[in-house]
């Protein structure tokens, strides 16, 4: 393990150097653009044989027989009888003239092009998956298609398995030498499910509608981007106010910019779309709200020629039909996959994981890296946690193993992680972590006493609807009580929790389970900035603010970014904007006859997946 850790950095640097060399060899551009995200830590690449289209040209000799008709000469003579005498006035005679029946045979050569589709033998079938539910067809809403959009939509850029960015709807791009102008070319043959072509105008319109979507993209759009213009139907250009070393990352950020047709992107973002139209390999066939969503293969989808890796590259819709079924009860979900009535569980709770692990017909998939981060957010704008001593007291008292065990269960589904940056990524660091998971209750009690908050009643709001939050919060409550605090434990449903936490007066502490800090430019890092989130982080020393400003101010090498990331980690442990608990793994499950299924993070792609039945 240590050898792997030691080799990780040189390997990453070597790969980056190789990538840079290859890039320089191909272009004469002198862009100081450092591909900060080209650190390849793991690469899951699946090459899936696709349907082949064979065009055959052949000559056909066609024989045409022409039959000459019989010639008939008709002479009409009529005979009229007059009493007493017979006078022939007219006589009708039919005379048939026999003529030859020559058959003319001509030969014509026709060139036919026959299109033979060699279908992949694995193609076909219906895959059934559980689904937490799609409450609206608008992809810009949290209650929207979610996983469905993974199959039905595409953006201009997307993430590879190594969390790097790669072109999806664009096949080539170019940056000017000053790094301020970027030109992009759309892949040929892109079509929406309604048959309309995907144009640069649609890309711009979709980007405009997504511009307020939280994440790196919104920062890019608001602070760095100057203008987004379409050059023609297939080309567009982005000009920047200042250099953004994360331009491609921003464009791939969490699927923030899936391309949608005009009828959707022209709607204001507050008006939910009532149709689901994308340009991905699957299209919506039927939506029964609260019950099921059916997708079918989009026959006009032309896969990219690039290598397939997670959400990028060649996507082949091998499965004919995907059925997402809303199964609200966890026990029913488990029973359904065990009996084969559904093929995939998008997410599995720790309670049932071991049971599924033992099932011979089910594969449990542990998405270890990047994992989910469990963190305690403390309200900074009023007592008691506006006092650094109180934040440090809680940090010192935390027993990560206890909390994670209470939240998730068996130890194989979680890990303590001393790094502020996600463990298992290139950014993992021990910087500042001497105070992590030390369980020093005595010192914590002393700090509470020194701050004069002994016996203070902490308003602790808990998202009881979420098993991980509910489980971890109970242990954290005990820890708070053990250092001399009283806890007003308020368990609530999602809507109430969201409404309550919006007002900082309503709470002192809460726990979240988020994607964490897996990249200095991405994920939930914006929450660690001054006034960055609902916890109203004060950053009294100004240290973290200065470090964030520094990170976004210039273009750096990997080593330079890692150095800044380490400083950020130290500052987080010093000023405690968040108390880090640890990480747990997302678990998914699939029947053993589901092949090629490689979920990662929040995406469960079903393209390049087939059923071996």
């Amino acid at each position: 393990m240590n050898i792997v850790k030691r080799l990780r950095l040189p390997a990453a640097v070597a790969i980056v150097a190789g990538t840079l060399a290859a890039t320089l060899a191909c272009t004469t551009e002198t862009v100081r653009e450092v591909p900060v995200d080209r650190v390849v830590t793991q690469e899951v690449v699946r090459e899936v044989p696709v349907e082949k289209v064979v065009e055959v040209e052949k000559e056909v000799v066609r024989t045409v027989e022409v039959e000459k008709p019989i010639e008939v000469i008709k002479e009409v003579v009529r005979e009229v009888e007059v009493p007493g005498e017979t006078v022939v006035v007219e006589k009708e005679v039919v005379r048939t003239v026999e003529v030859e029946k020559p058959v003319v045979v001509t030969q014509e050569v026709v060139r036919e092009v026959e299109k033979i589709v060699l279908k992949d033998p694995r193609a076909g079938g219906t895959l059934r998956s559980n689904f937490p539910g799609m409450k609206t067809l608008d992809i810009q809403t949290a209650a929207g298609p979610g996983e469905v959009a993974t199959q039905t939509h595409e953006g201009i850029f997307a993430r590879t398995a190594a969390m790097t960015s790669a072109g999806m709807q664009v096949d080539s791009w170019q940056a000017s030498s000053d790094g301020l102008t970027w030109r992009f070319h759309l892949r040929d043959g892109l079509k929406f499910h309604n048959g309309e072509p995907v144009t640069a105008r649609d890309v711009r319109g979709s980007a405009e509608r997504s511009k307020d979507k939280p994440g790196l993209y919104v920062q890019f759009y608001q602070d760095f981007m100057d203008e987004w213009t379409e050059i023609d139907d297939n080309n567009f250009q982005i000009t920047l106010k200042k250099k953004a070393p994360f331009t491609l990352d921003a464009l791939a950020d969490g699927g923030a910019t899936p391309t949608v047709p005009r009828e959707i992107w022209q709607l204001p973002v507050t008006q939910a779309s009532t149709v689901l139209i994308g340009a991905g390999p699957y299209k919506l066939e039927e939506w029964v709200p609260g019950d099921k969503t059916t997708l079918s293969r989009f026959e006009d989808y032309i896969p990219s020629e690039q290598r397939s890796s997670f959400m990028t590259g060649k996507k082949v819709a091998l499965i004919d039909t995907i059925e997402y079924i809303e199964v609200p009860d966890t026990a029913a979900q488990i029973a359904a996959i065990e009996t084969g009535q559904i093929d995939v569980l998008l997410s599995v709770g720790g309670d049932f994981a071991e049971r599924l692990e033992k099932h011979r017909d089910v594969n449990l998939i542990n998405l270890e890296s990047p994992a989910r981060r469990l963190g305690i957010w403390l309200q900074h704008d009023h007592p008691p946690f506006d006092d650094l001593r109180m934040r440090k007291a809680l940090q010192l008292a935390i027993d990560s193993e206890d909390i994670l065990r209470g939240a998730i269960g068996p130890a194989k589904y979680w890990r303590t992680c001393a790094s502020i940056w996600s463990c298992g990524t290139a950014w993992e660091t021990d910087a500042g972590s001497e105070v992590y998971n030390v369980k020093d209750l005595e010192q914590a009690r002393q700090l509470v006493k020194d701050a004069g908050h002994e016996g203070y009643e902490v308003k602790f709001i808990v998202g009881e609807y979420h098993p991980v939050l509910a489980g971890s919060s109970k242990v954290v409550r005990d820890i708070m009580e053990s250092i001399g605090l009283r806890v007003d434990y308020q368990a609530m449903d999602n809507a109430t929790w969201r409404a309550t936490r919006a007002d900082s007066d309503n709470w002192d502490a809460l726990i979240t389970a988020s994607v964490g800090f897996y990249h200095p430019y991405l994920g939930a890092t914006a929450h660690l900035k001054k006034e960055g989130w609902l916890h109203k982080y004060k950053d009294d020393t100004g240290k973290l603010t200065a470090l964030w400003d520094k990170l976004f101010a210039d273009v750096y090498t990997i080593e330079e970014i890692q150095a800044i990331a380490e400083e950020i980690a130290e500052a987080v442990y010093e000023d405690v904007p968040i108390v880090s608990v640890g990480e747990y793994f997302e678990l998914a499950a699939a029947r053993t006859d589901v092949k090629g299924f490689a979920p990662l993070l929040w995406n469960r792609p079903f393209f390049n997946v087939w059923l071996e039945r």
């Binding site: 949290a142 994440g215 009860d329 009996t339 969201r498 409404a499």
Partner: protein, 313 residues
């Protein structure tokens, strides 16, 4: 009788509106709104407010109420705040699964509960009576969700006779339809059958001690005739009352069953709507519940008159 029925039917209009109004103001008390469900977790407060404005949730409560009532008078139950689909279009496909389970549940309850009650009353305090009592107590005490899980595990996982999840419409065939609703119907019918058995048994034992029954027996009538022709009709009035309440309970109270068996019915829709604060759906479903109560009660009253000719309206 007809005038009575007409009066009762007319009375449903103000009652339903009253229930709707009550539901509207009660939901205003609940914390949170649909915005929390629609918008991203990391959205800013400004973005949340903009969406709230667009949905009209920032308007004064009375303005919202007047708007909703106005639509209701025009026969418009409104649009889901989240999916933006008409409430009626969300409710209508869910009626069939709920009514199917309620129908089969009622049939099974009656077919199981009433004969058991009659059997128990045939020989009071006998072993059979005690066995029926045991079934009644267990059937009524066991929580529905536990029974549902047990049934699911036994008859869908271990003995895969019934499907684990889903509902098959009757339009796809009677047998697949029956297969999809049998297990949930059996589960919900256990507790109601237990109640029927107790009610029938008690009613029958009481009636069988009346003078006219002694007279009937003195006339030499067969015990079967005494029980079914003379006693059961009089004993059935409390059973009819119970039947009314239980049918309403079956129509409106199948939520847990629908969740466990993944049936896309009205109960699940209501729970989801309450959790998501999708007010128009909640209001419409509560009004529908009120309607079911009113109509089933009316039907019960009509059945009283049939069971007991002395009752006249």
């Amino acid at each position: 009788m007809q005038a009575y029925i007409l009066r009762r039917l007319l009375a449903t209009v103000p009652i339903v509106f009253l229930v709707g109004a009550l539901s509207f103001f009660l939901m205003q008390i609940a914390a949170g709104d649909a915005v929390g469900v629609i918008i991203d977790e990391e959205a800013t407060l400004e973005q949340e407010e903009a969406l709230r404005d667009a949905l009209g949730l920032n308007d004064p409560v009375l303005v919202q109420f007047a708007r909703w009532m106005g639509n209701l008078f025009r026969g418009d139950l409104g649009t889901s705040l989240i999916s933006r689909y008409p409430v009626t279009s969300l409710m209508s496909p869910r009626l069939e699964p709920t009514l199917s389970i309620a129908f089969l549940g009622t049939v099974l309850s009656v077919l199981l509960g009433i004969p058991l009650g009659l059997l128990a009353a045939w020989r009071p305090n006998s072993g059979l009576d005690r066995a029926v009592l045991f079934f009644s107590v267990i059937g009524f005490s066991v929580p529905g969700f536990w029974l549902a899980f047990l049934a699911l595990w036994t008859f869908a996982v271990k003995l895969p006779i019934f499907p684990v999840l889903g509902y098959t419409s009757i339009s796809e065939g009677v047998l697949p339809w029956l297969r999809s609703i049998t297990l949930p119907a059996i589960v919900i019918s256990v507790s109601t059958a237990a109640v029927f058995a107790r009610m029938t048994r008690t009613g029958m034992v009481e009636v069988l001690q009346q003078d006219y029954i002694r007279t009937a027996r003195a006339k030499g009538l067969a015990e079967r005739v005494v029980h079914f022709r003379h006693a059961f009709k009089n004993a059935s009035i409390p059973v009819i009352t119970t039947l009314g309440f239980l049918v309403v309970g079956l129509v409106t109270g199948t939520t847990i069953i629908e969740i466990v068996f993944t049936i896309p019915g009205l109960g699940r829709l209501l729970v989801t709507a309450v959790v998501d604060r999708d007010y128009p759906i909640v209001h419409a479903l509560l009004m529908l519940t009120a309607l079911v109560y009113i109509y089933v009660n009316l039907l019960t009253d009509i059945l009283y008159a049939y069971a007991d000719p002395r009752i006249r309206y």
